[in-house]
């Protein structure tokens, strides 16, 4: 029983971080229909920002979180203006974004390698190696803090989307772009701001990742399929779906790792991606794909 709870707790602890890693991806797809393969490398960029702050200035990664988010927001704005804005009206935009973001990911990976070398890095604040014991069950504090911060950020995002005027505009644009425009929403502005928010979330996730996982520039290739599996299972564009999927798959992966050995746990995400696309391509909370 203790083993079961222990595995569940470890799965849930990772789920929170994955949820934040996936939610920016989901937001950007929902509003702009961009399949952002560069999202994981942007998370790693955020991780390097936190790493830089930790090594050179001795700043805690959690304190660096808003800074990383801000830096990534600026990178997001540049990317939007440079890569996406002009093409957004193209009929094949979504398909194009797969290659556009793939290329972008390679460029950013190269730049990170040049700036920070390809050595494995991790930030090591004290709590990252600490743990809390509840009875016989231990909770790694690093993952616990990361999970709590993730959920706080996601909850704030959800409240912003649900209640603010701009949140209404974002949701309306996601669900029916033409209708939103007819009612007076500046959909181009909404697209830009949502993209920037999505990339800022990658930066925030990155600073948490910096003490939960070790990372190097090419690590992002591992995460693409994992994050895609979360977003697809959740239903593309649904942030709630992404969160539910992140917790579900992390817990399943933890149990798979427990039974079959940790090398197999990543397999859970790939298998889930495969099965969801086969059986329920719209995911848990997504729209049914149109047949035409």
């Amino acid at each position: 029983m203790v083993d079961f709870i222990q595995t569940l707790v470890l799965g849930l602890a990772l789920g929170g971080v994955f949820a934040l890693m996936g939610s920016g991806l989901s937001l950007v797809f929902g509003v702009m229909r961009i399949v952002n393969l560069a999202h994981p490398v942007l998370i790693i960029t955020g991780a390097y920002a936190a790493y830089w702050g930790f090594r050179t200035l001795g700043v805690d990664p959690l304190v660096m979180l808003p800074v990383a988010a801000f830096i990534l927001a600026i990178i997001g704005l540049i990317l939007y203006k440079l890569v996406f804005e002009k093409e957004a009206k193209s009929a094949k935009f979504t398909q194009m974004t797969v290659l556009l973001t793939f290329g972008t990911a390679m460029i950013i990976e190269g730049a990170l390698g040049t700036m920070f070398t390809n050595t494995q890095r991790v930030t090591s604040p004290e709590y990252a190696t600490d743990a809390i014991f509840i009875g016989d069950v231990f909770i790694p504090t690093g993952q616990l803090y990361a999970g709590i911060v993730s959920l706080t950020i996601i909850a704030s995002l959800a409240l912003f989307l649900k209640y603010s005027r701009f949140g209404y505009a974002i949701r309306a644009t996601t669900q029916n772009r033409d209708a939103a425009e007819l009612l007076g929403v500046n959909v181009n502005m909404v697209s830009m701001v949502s993209f920037v928010i999505g990339i800022a979330l990658a930066g925030a996730a990155g600073s948490l990742v910096s003490f939960v996982f070790s990372f190097f520039p090419a690590k992002h290739w591992e995460w693409i399929a994992i994050l895609m599996s979360l977003v697809v299972l959740g239903g593309m564009g649904s942030i709630l779906g992404t969160v539910v999927a992140a917790f579900t798959l992390s817990v399943v992966a933890a149990f798979v790792g427990d039974f079959f050995g940790s090398t197999w746990s990543t397999m859970t995400f790939f298998l889930a991606l495969f099965l969801v696309l086969l059986v329920r391509p719209q995911g848990l909370f997504g729209e049914k794909p149109e047949l035409a």
Binding site: R165, Y168, A169, R171, A172, Q175, N176, D178, A179, A180, E181, L182, L183, G184, V185, N186, E287
Partner: protein, 242 residues
Amino acid sequence: MAELLEVSNVVAGYGDGPAILDGANLTVNPGKVHCIIGPNGAGKSTLLKAIVGMLKVRSGEVNFKGKSLKGKRPDQVLREGICFVPQERALFPKMSVRENLRMGGFLMEDKAEVERRIDELEERFPILRERRSQQAGTMSGGQQQTLAMARTLINKPDIVMLDEPSLGLAPKIVREMFSIMHMMASEGITVLLVEQNAMMGLKNSDWGVVLDLGKTLFEGPAADVLGDPRIQELYLGGKKAA
């Protein structure tokens, strides 16, 4: 009576494509139900889209209350007082009914006023109150159309334009939609609708406009359009039934 909306010799089309409208004219008088009829591809929907600025008017004039609407964006046209409900009803399927109504007042600064007007609408259309927290996409076609039409009233517009409001609805529901339009007209809101079912549209309207091949062929009181033998033959499905 001064015209509310005057469309003269408008040429418009999609992108760089051919002109779909090629000299369309339209006179809209206040407080009446106007119906545009014509065969498929005549440019009926295109005309509405050109008026609200979803399509560029290449030449000709669109005047509303004496001011030109040419070159204005949809949100600017909305501010002037023209609300457009496109064929697909322009709802947000995953938002609740109440949230959809709030989106209707997106441009209004005074949010308390928006809430007050939504309360009024719930008063008038009880179905909207009943379904207030339901996702709009899960409602029936008629309920969705009611929501789309009611939502236009939040802006207290001068003109409501509807593109085939009867599409895919049962006859009984269609009658309800027309009664809403007449209620709007009786409150001084001018209704301009495009209707595929010409006979039904004209019978329920005050003013008829016949559009074909992008040109206005005839406009006048709906009864005159219905009674005109040429129009009978060409657009209303043969000779008038005895």
